[in-house]
Amino acid sequence: VAGVRVSAEPLQTLGGEGVDLGSLPDAAPWLFTNYVEVVAQMPHRGALAGLALYVGVGGDVEIHLATGVEGDETSIGHFRIACHSTAPGTGGHFDIMLPVPLVLPDNSRISARARGSNVAMQPVITLSYYPDPTFLHLTEIPITSAPAGEDGVDATLPGVAWEWSDWEDLTLGEPQAIGVYGLACGTTFEIGNRIFEVQIGMGVDPEHDLIGTYRLEAPLLWEHILFTVVHRVTAGIRVAFRVRSPGTETDTVRGTLLFYESVEEVLGGVIGPLLWVEIPRTVQI
């Protein structure tokens, strides 16, 4: 099974010059826009590879994608972007590329809507995708985030060089095993030293059950920690994060966990040099 994570088809775009999802409802944060059509009908089967986004101003934002006819859309998951600052000019460019592309069925209509923390946002999106994918590294499992539909979780630097903040819970546990693909991570741009470390851990003792430790350099405004290999987390297990820096600032770092809602138990423990397996186009994957 090694070698399934390469596409024979180059990246293409959906949404052309950018699909304007309109202004967020101004009655309150985190209210959805209406769905806007990205593509009326997929001309073939596709694999959603990622999102390119501009929102105009800073904040936390979710871009929800759906298939289905107008008025009867079915969610296929949402992207989450965190930009802690709300200062003008901090709203893009953002992009997120997925470690496991999502299946976009042949003939399907794709639409999108948005919600976020800053009602001044006006998201414009373009999707990247692989047409007619012949590789096996695909999924129909939706992408999501925790928390969702509300501001991200803040971890506050303690003001002592290289001392960790408290652990801050991202989720107390999901109902099934999940595939974590990163942390949407935003900072205030007043953060002075501009270097810090982030740890993501699991369970009652996350320090000893780590997903990983990551270094961010110059993370002004936004810098997401994106994995290229999904990390499996068992059902019901808490996931938390903490931060530290070489300085004495007490700024906050905002985090939101990015994950696939479940993990397919298909592959077994094969690690080795990357090999290529040609899959004939006529084979139904």
Partner: protein, 276 residues
Amino acid sequence: MAMQRTTSPQFVYPVGASPITLDPPGFPSPAMTYSAWVEVIASTSEAWAISGITVGRQAGGLGNSNAEFDVQLAVADEGDEDDHVIATIRIGEIHNEISGLDPAINGGRMPLPFPLDVVPVGSRIAARARTNDNNNPGDVYLALNYYRSPLDGSGDVSTSPPQVLPANLGVELEAHADPWTYGDSVVVGTLATEAIIIDWSTAEATGSSAIDVELALDGDPIATLPIRQGSYFTVGHRTHIPVPFRVAAGEITARMRSGAGGATMRFSLGYQEWPA
């Protein structure tokens, strides 16, 4: 369908300490002249599969903050690094003068699609850097992300060195003056063998607009890469591709278009020879 995944944690080096400092030379050295090799770690206590780097460049003086720089990694004894390069990674700086901070630091994380499983236990790792901002080269800061090798689970790894096209400096693309009209094609370089495209980066962009870059292989369009944005962040940009796409050997050209028309920027591709 299948989802590759792991339960192995990622680590960072150095951890809880200042990053490794690299010192690209400035004038009178030509732009894009590498610094001396700097030891990152004398001997790894276990085998590593490098999953990415975190880099920043603090330009001297007022800070250009809109340049390109390359970081090279080697696994070798001192003096033998040139012949044992394991990765060359290009970074297009993200402009952050919006913050008012001075001197600016630019950089970010550059994950690799496949952990680079080329660091046996006991390895010495060294690094060096170069920049086209030789009037103001400053320092380049480096940290590594890695897994202990072998990984648990089902994630592919690679032994093929990440490389950059063009090798020296990004090509300059110019959008047509009319909105959403492609400018002229520019030769990015020639792939001598089949390869996978693992990332792309831009630098020194002018204009504030949404952008498409179209790639072609031997004249035939093969891919479209989007930047969707307005103001400051077009001046530098980088996108990693977790599921790389494969291209045959041949000449790669690129052209760009913009929503406002008339923008320019430097452009580079990251790749690995195939099979990886």
